[in-house]
């Protein structure tokens, strides 16, 4: 892996030295290609998942004879390095230098928020596959004309949290008999907003009392004082919300053998590489995850995607795509299906209309398993009683026959395997306390 990296580097330098000779030559094609841009980090698992999902879909479409009357798709990428200003520059680069027709994004929250004004200015159709920030959806709801070219095909965090409360009620309260928790969350916007949702609903909906709240600095090195405090509060379990450096609380939880169970949101545990990254110290972690998550049973088409993914990327990390890899793969298909019907990505309003009508349903054993459609303007989600314009059509009410579930709960076991434990329709395993908890 190291060798391939450094040789890539050498090639890159050589390419740079060759200079403009390369950028001038274009792929010889009868028709101009359609250009799809990727914006996001190049090296992170998150970014790579989106890149690879999109790459596989694009190669499949090109191999099948191209799109929009036989035009090929050209895929260009711009690195954000997970930095806000770099993200804005990357967006500008894609539109101004590469003249992209459509952008697929694997950006994280603040990076997406950063380039959003550029998107509104350029009016470039854009699909986000990773960030779940409901604030962006609210922008589409409130300022539709300005942000209508934006789509997000992961369920927003509000939907995630709402469904998670059901897990608390059905499993943590009813099955495990927990009555109190310590809410431990990082001081980031993600932590605060998720914790706020959980705090407001956990007691009234699930009957679990919050006996103590611990907000911690996202750069915390040592979680021992926090765990000590949590344990001495006498609560039944710890509810952790962590998105930044989430391996730290997860692995210190194991290293410290904290004697009460812990569940919640741990972003690092979304990927199959979590186990190796923690050197096996992820045991006992359970986390909510957007779908399709690790450990989840797949429909035939998604299973084929995974087969292709593994054949193509082998042991290069991430060894299994994160949820956004699937989102990118299906996102490319839905975007081009809409473009075929609209006659291209322009005029913009035609494409948006067709994208809003897009409905990709995936079935497993005759049951609706995943669905890539979007909430329409003015459509009200029945349970939360609000609009989610251009968010993926999630479902937060059993029997989940109206859309993909907003989230599932994934459990990592001490033998390194993982399984979905909630909702029951998708479950492949059971909630389990770590062995050191008595």
């Amino acid at each position: 892996m190291k060798i391939s990296k450094s040789s890539k580097l050498l090639l890159a330098v050589a390419a740079m030295l060759l200079g403009s000779g390369m950028s001038g030559s274009s792929i010889a094609q009868d028709k101009d290609p359609i250009v799809v841009g990727y914006i996001g980090s190049f090296a992170s698992d998150t970014g790579l998942s989106t890149i690879r999902g999109a790459e596989i879909a694009i190669d499949e479409l090109n191999a099948a004879g191209g799109v929009l009357d036989g035009r090929m798709i050209k895929f260009v990428k711009a690195d954000t390095r997970e930095d806000v200003a770099e993200g804005i520059k990357a967006y500008e680069y894609l539109v101004e230098s590469e003249n992209v027709d459509f952008i697929i994004s694997g950006s994280i929250d603040d990076v997406s928020l950063g380039w959003l004004p550029r998107m509104a200015e350029y009016k470039t159709p854009t699909l986000d596959t990773w960030t779940s920030y409901v604030g962006i959806i609210d922008l589409v709801v409130n300022e539709y004309d300005k942000y209508k070219m934006y789509f997000m095909n992961i369920a927003c965090d509000e939907a995630l949290a709402t469904l998670y409360i059901d897990f608390g009620k059905d499993v943590l309260a009813k099955e495990m008999g927990y009555t109190s928790t310590v809410l431990m969350y990082e001081d980031t916007a993600f932590g605060v907003s998720i914790a706020g949702l959980v705090e407001g609903l956990l007691a009234p909906e699930a009957g679990i009392k919050i006996s103590e709240k611990i907000i911690y600095d996202a750069n915390t090195v040592d979680f021992a004082p926090l765990f000590n405090k949590a344990v001495s509060s006498g609560a039944d379990f710890i509810y952790l919300v962590s998105s930044v450096r989430s391996q730290v609380p997860a692995s210190q939880y194991v290293k410290l053998q904290v004697p009460i169970p812990m569940t919640g949101v741990n972003v690092a545990a979304f990927g199959q590489d979590f186990w190796n990254d923690t050197g096996g110290l992820g045991a006992g972690t359970s986390t909510l995850s957007p779908v399709p998550s690790v450990g989840m049973a797949l429909d035939d088409r998604s299973a084929e995607f995974i087969t292709n993914y593994k054949a193509r990327y082998g042991s290069e990390r991430p060894i299994y795509p994160h949820f956004n890899g699937f989102n990118a793969y299906y996102g490319i298909y839905t975007a081009f299906a809409a473009a075929e019907r609209a006659g291209g990505f322009a005029p913009l309003d035609d494409w948006i209309r067709e994208m809003e009508n897009e409905d990709l349903k995936l079935y497993k054993d005759g049951e609706l398993w995943f669905r890539y459609a979007f909430w329409k303007r003015g459509e009200i989600e029945p349970r939360t009683q609000r609009e989610y314009t251009h968010n993926v059509k999630f479902d937060i009410t059993p029997p989940f026959d109206d859309g993909s579930p907003a989230m599932v709960v994934v459990q990592w076991y001490e033998d390194g395997s993982s399984a979905v434990i909630y909702p029951p329709k998708f479950a492949t395993g059971k909630f389990q306390e770590p062995s050191w908890v008595k």
């Binding site: 992170s44 090195v221 040592d222 021992a224 050197g279």
Partner: protein, 284 residues
């Protein structure tokens, strides 16, 4: 409640002292901030990870390899950068900062930006009542005290140590008494690289490896130097404990999210009220 603060606070302080030693040494002797010190720490952590967890060379050999690699890195930085800049403090600070950023970029290219958790150096936990601490941290703290004691003896009792002290107090005077400050600085940078790498192993096995991990320990080291004052190893030790305790107290008793804010306020206050630090001797 008291033990909940004292025990973890003491151990965290030990880790902080270990993190700060190498940084303090360079600052005391050369009067320059090595803003690339965090890179030594990160480098040590990643080398250890590669050696112990990926190549499976075993903990003790890996520890030695990583520390040696740190010494080497310290020497290389000194020879390539520091010597060329001839004591221009600002130039050294900026170039070491760039060096840290370069190291970060290199780590991303080689190891990917994904954070990695590591097996503890010494597995297992110590339980005192409700309080849990890992052996890993206990060992880190004990190591730091041992290293500090050794360093104290080294500086006080050996010939090189006395030469180091002489350069630290008066570089020009040292030259007159036949000491080559260049050689002393080379030794210091090597030592600092090794100590940084060693601290990196303990820090990384306790927390995680990530390409941006050099910033947090650098800030801790800076805080220790400022609060302790330059030119005082003992001062650094006390300062590490002040900061470690302050963090633990803030986390446990006040509000965990103010941990970083408390440290920053302490730095600003000390610099404004007692710029020489609590134990510093040097003039500004």
């Amino acid at each position: 409640m008291l033990i909940q603060i004292l025990l973890p606070g003491l151990l965290l302080s030990g880790l902080y002292a270990l993190i700060a030693i190498g940084f303090t040494m360079i600052f005391s002797v050369g009067r320059v901030l090595n803003l690339g010190y965090g890179a030594f720490i990160m480098f040590g952590g990643y080398i250890y990870y590669q050696s112990a967890q990926i190549l499976g060379l075993g903990k003790v050999p890996s520890f030695v390899i990583a520390t040696a690699a740190g010494v080497l890195l310290g020497l290389i930085v000194y020879v390539i950068l520091i010597r060329k800049l001839k004591g221009d403090a600002i130039a050294i600070e900026i170039s070491t900062l760039i060096f840290a950023i370069v190291t970060q970029a290199a780590i991303i290219v080689v190891f990917s930006p994904s954070p990695k958790s590591m097996w503890p150096l010494i597995p297992g936990v110590l339980r005192v009542g409700d309080v849990i601490v890992t052996y890993n941290l206990v060992v880190a703290a004990v190591t730091s005290w041992v290293v500090l004691a050794a360093l104290f003896l080294f500086i006080g009792k050996t010939h090189i140590g006395r030469a180091i002290r002489a350069v630290s107090m008066d570089p020009k005077g040292a030259v007159i008494s036949g000491i080559d400050p260049d050689r002393i600085n080379l030794i210091i940078w090597g030592l600092s690289g090794g100590l940084g790498a060693m601290a990196g192993i303990f820090l990384a096995t306790y927390t995680q490896l990530a390409p941006a991990m050099w910033v947090a320990p650098l800030i801790i080291a800076v805080a220790v130097v400022i609060v302790g004052g330059i030119g005082s190893i003992l001062g650094g030790l006390v300062a590490a404990h002040v900061i470690g305790m302050l963090e633990t107290i803030t986390t446990t008793l006040i509000a965990a999210e103010l941990r970083g804010v408390a440290t920053m306020l302490l730095i600003i206050l000390v610099l404004i009220i007692a710029p020489k630090g609590l134990f510093g001797k040097a003039e500004l």
